[in-house]
């Protein structure tokens, strides 16, 4: 066998292995959504459980075609350094327009990369939808919800990915922004989109009293919520693994470079493994320490993972533990602050993903400043660069969330009537009951 023939065989093996890697990473990511559904069902009262389930599953179904129609080409169209207006002429944006003539968005024997990368990003998109989902349980109308997740999961968040999750985006090229596993790109954008929606949606029925005092609205199943959280953590291993680029010719990387992160910087799964687990452990411990509450302790696990996400391939594991612990520590206080403002975030998503996402992004600026970029024309990590990124993702999430939900509210498509909320929203979605053998209805 000649060297050329041997290289061809190696490339075929690497390319098919790459396909397999992202295929199974995508499959594992589905556990995020199974977990979020369990978590949110557990946090719902029995009369609203099936509505919560239907809401999550339909969000799943709507985000897929939305990301097919808009999201994937938009990601590439924001990699020319542009901020608002997509660059239609970007080579890959042209290739991935689903109604275009270049054939990037369909079966193609010569392209084994596009479909599986699209699938992985589609699951990232679904994650943004699932993050928002928990905040709004037990009172959001299905029609309004579907419009929100279609627009946010299909388009808005990916604008931020184009800005800060590619070497061509303006945040990276101009500011050296670094967010390897998407604390800002995914978590902050989704968390603050949820906040924008919550301002207009209002609280769950019975959450606040007329004098401004609060009532705890206990979910119907703590065990279901706890199990859901563990399933989410399983899914995040798929998510984080898919944030690495597999070494293969079809992925556009050279075999001798090995794994690279989304900025083209040499990395590996080993670094991700150290810091994911250490950050998660720190988040759980700290949240349990400051709350003594099972529900918030579970949220602490996500806080730990999100806290270390931006610099996941750079931390010393002991540092990752502490950075994760800080995330678990601040989360309950952020939630109390929101509640004091009259915001009812049913599962703490704004705190866990939004505020802790800020910490994840800024911890890199504070502790990893000066770390070099992959090429000389991209700035190194700086506090200022991370701050510009954090402000950008806050605005990218909050402003559309507020404006869209305001419009939906005016159109009567956001919140169920108080009579239906009293009855239980399961009655509006196929008249289903989660536990018909022993469930009472109002």
């Amino acid at each position: 066998m000649s060297p050329e023939e041997l290289m061809a065989v190696i490339n075929v093996v690497a390319d098919t292995a790459m396909e397999g890697y992202y295929w199974w990473a995508t499959a594992i990511m589905i556990a995020i959504h199974a977990g979020f559904m369990m978590y949110e069902m557990g946090a719902s009262r029995a009369k609203n459980v099936m509505h919560t389930a239907v809401k999550n599953i339909l969000a799943f179904a709507f985000t897929i075609p939305a990301f097919f129609v808009v999201g994937w080409w938009a990601y590439w169209a924001y990699q020319s350094g542009n901020i608002f207006i997509p660059d239609w002429n970007h080579e890959f944006a042209q290739y991935y327009v689903p109604w275009g003539d270049q054939g990037g968005m369909g079966p193609n024997h010569q392209d084994g990369a596009s479909g599986i990368f699209w699938a992985a990003f589609t699951l990232f998109a679904m994650t943004t939808a699932s993050i928002v989902s928990g905040s709004v349980i037990e009172r959001i109308k299905m029609s309004g919800w579907l419009i929100l997740v279609t627009i946010f999961g299909g388009f808005i968040w990916i604008v931020g990915a184009g800005w800060g999750w590619s070497t061509g985006g303006w945040l990276v090229a101009d500011w050296g922004f670094r967010d390897v596993c998407a604390a800002g790109v995914v978590h902050m954008a989704a968390g603050f989109f949820a906040l924008g929606v919550l301002v207009n949606l209002g609280p769950r029925q019975g959450r606040f009293n007329a004098d401004g005092s609060t009532n705890e609205v206990a979910g119907h199943s703590g065990p279901m919520a706890a199990a859901g959280l563990m399933v989410i953590i399983l899914g995040f291993f798929g998510f984080l693994g898919a944030c690495l680029i597999y070494p293969s010719s079809m992925a556009g990387t050279s075999a001798d470079l090995g794994w690279i992160n989304i900025y083209g910087i040499k990395s590996n799964l080993s670094a991700f493994a150290f810091n994911t687990l250490m950050g998660m452990a720190g988040g759980i411990m700290a949240a349990w320490w400051v709350t003594r509450d099972a529900f918030w302790m579970m949220g602490g696990a996500l806080c730990g993972i999100i806290s270390v996400a931006s610099g996941i391939d750079l931390w010393y594991p002991g540092t990752a533990f502490v950075v994760g612990a800080v995330g678990g520590l601040i989360m309950p206080y952020c939630h109390k602050m929101l509640t004091s403002w009259g915001i009812d975030d049913a599962v703490g998503a704004v705190s866990v993903h939004g505020f802790v996402g800020i910490w994840g992004v800024m911890s890199v600026g504070i502790l990893l400043g000066g770390y070099p970029a992959p090429s000389a024309d991209i700035p190194a990590i700086t506090f200022t660069g991370q701050l510009v990124g954090a402000i950008s993702f806050f605005l990218l999430g909050f402003v559309p969330g507020y404006v869209l939900s305001w419009i939906l509210n005016k159109a009567g498509m956001l919140r169920y009537s108080e009579a239906i909320l009293e009855m239980g929203v399961d009655k509006t979605e196929g008249d289903t009951q989660a536990y018909p053998d022993f469930q009472k209805t109002a």
């Binding site: 339909l58 369909g106 109308k141 029609s143 279609t150 169920y416 009537s417």
Partner: protein, 55 residues
């Protein structure tokens, strides 16, 4: 026109998305969009009906 399958041969590994940009692709694409909108409209109609019934 409605045959938009990209595969027209299993010979070798040369088959590509050869109907990309064709009229059929656009039609199926528009049907996809219409279906998404229809489901949302149906949900909104159902919610309105329940609000009329229950207040």
């Amino acid at each position: 026109m409605f045959d938009t399958s990209p595969i027209d041969t299993w010979e070798g590994a040369a088959a590509v998305f050869n109907n990309a940009g064709g009229g059929g692709v656009v039609v199926w694409f528009l049907i996809l969009l219409a279906l998404m909108i229809t489901v949302i409209v149906a949900a909104a109609r159902s919610e309105k009906a329940h609000e009329r019934e229950h207040g």
